[in-house]
């Protein structure tokens, strides 16, 4: 934090526009580079949450799945605070034949 930031905060001024520009660019470039549209990302987010919530109880309010980009590499970042672990229910034995018997 710089002296300028402190003064801006004390006076209740908006953050400098360069900072806003940087944040907006990072977000838009993450989307541009991955070629994922917001709708697809939202669907993926819901499915990820669904899978994860089979194993642990997660805080859906705090949970966040988003794209981040650094050094021209885009990453899918999931931040999912865990409330508690759920008792693991083993899936019912599949109908597939036992490999040993084949």
């Amino acid at each position: 934090m710089t002296l300028r930031d402190v003064i801006n905060k004390l006076l209740g001024r908006q953050a400098n526009s360069a900072c806003t520009a940087r944040q907006r660019l990072q977000l838009v470039l993450a989307h541009d580079r991955s070629d994922l549209n917001p709708e697809l990302l939202e669907r993926m987010r819901r499915e990820i949450l669904e899978v994860v919530s089979r194993y642990v109880e997660i805080d859906l309010e705090e949970g966040d799945v988003s794209l981040a980009t650094e050094d021209r590499v885009t990453a899918l970042v999931a931040n999912l605070p865990i409330r508690r672990t759920l008792p693991i229910v083993e899936p019912a034995p599949a109908t597939a034949p036992d490999p040993l018997e084949v």
Binding site: M1, T2, L3, R4, V6, I7, N16, S17, A18, C19, A21, R22, R24, L25, Q26, V28, L29, D32, R33, D71, R72
Partner: protein
């Protein structure tokens, strides 16, 4: 000198109006002044302007199009600069014939030109469509020009993605139209912000400079007569770096003097 050691450098930006053609003209003159035989190829044949910035608009008779068709010799199409005989301009084509050019044509033109020159600078059109891809096909390294604005940086990023996927190397960045005062007040993206986001090495940093407009009015690039305006120095330095010289980049925060600049620097020191 054979074509094998000729450098074919694409100058591109994605967004229009960020200073591609101005950089090409100034860099061409600056390289020529350092003794390098330089050709500038205007690949933007739909909306060509390189001739205008170099003051050569009245001397174009033929274009690369006629050279390829065999209706004139290369020497007839190359427009030599009067004051700087090491520099020649070749317009790629005629605005009335937009459909003829393919990436292979551009490659052929560049190769033919390359036999007589040390540097071939290719001024790409704005956008990322056909014209840009044609220009890209003729180059083996690239300079991406951008300004510290969100739209220019975003478009530069798209272009860099395309260049990367074509295996273009090296790709270097020129940051144009930098306003030190706005940067100091953090009302303009910082140099580091842009280089971090685009992940390219910085080849040059050009300050916003009214003399650029004056020089385009006259058709005499700033690097031509050794004027000492900030942009003139920056362009000359880009040329020297291309030639392998180790020239330090300017620090925009040191470009401002006086009390206000001092206070500005104090305000931007990290305190915690």
């Amino acid at each position: 000198m054979t074509a094998a050691s000729t450098r074919f450098i694409l100058i591109c930006s994605g967004k229009g109006g960020v200073g591609k053609t101005t950089l090409t003209a100034n860099l061409g003159i600056a390289l020529a002044r350092q003794g390098a035989r330089t050709a500038v190829l205007d690949a933007d044949f739909g909306l060509r302007n390189l001739d205008l910035l170099l003051g050569l608009e009245n001397r174009i008779v033929f274009t690369a199009q006629e050279v390829l068709a065999g209706s004139c010799r290369l020497e007839q199409a190359l427009v030599k600069h009067k004051q700087e005989p090491n520099l020649a301009l070749l317009p790629a084509g005629n605005p009335r014939m937009l459909e003829w050019l393919t990436p292979e044509d551009m490659q052929k033109i560049a190769q033919v030109v390359g036999e007589q020159f040390d540097y071939v600078l290719i001024d790409a059109p704005a956008g990322i469509e056909g014209g840009f891809r044609n220009a890209m096909a003729a180059a083996n390294e690239a300079i991406v020009v951008t300004t510290p604005e969100v739209s220019a940086v975003r478009d530069a990023d798209r272009v860099i993605g395309l260049l990367n996927s074509e295996g273009m190397k090296p790709i270097q960045l020129v940051l144009n139209r930098v306003r030190p005062r706005m940067m100091a007040n953090q009302e303009m993206l910082a140099v580091d912000d842009v280089t971090d986001i685009l992940a390219l090495p910085l080849l040059g940093l050009v300050l916003e400079d009214e003399q650029v407009i004056v020089s385009t009015n006259r058709g005499e690039p700033l690097t031509l007569n050794g004027t000492q305006s900030p942009a003139a120095r920056a362009y000359a330095n880009v040329a020297r770096r291309l030639l392998g010289e180790d020239v330090a980049l300017i620090d925009p925060s040191k470009e401002r003097r006086g009390l206000r600049a001092k206070i500005g620097r104090l305000m931007n020191t990290k305190i915690f």
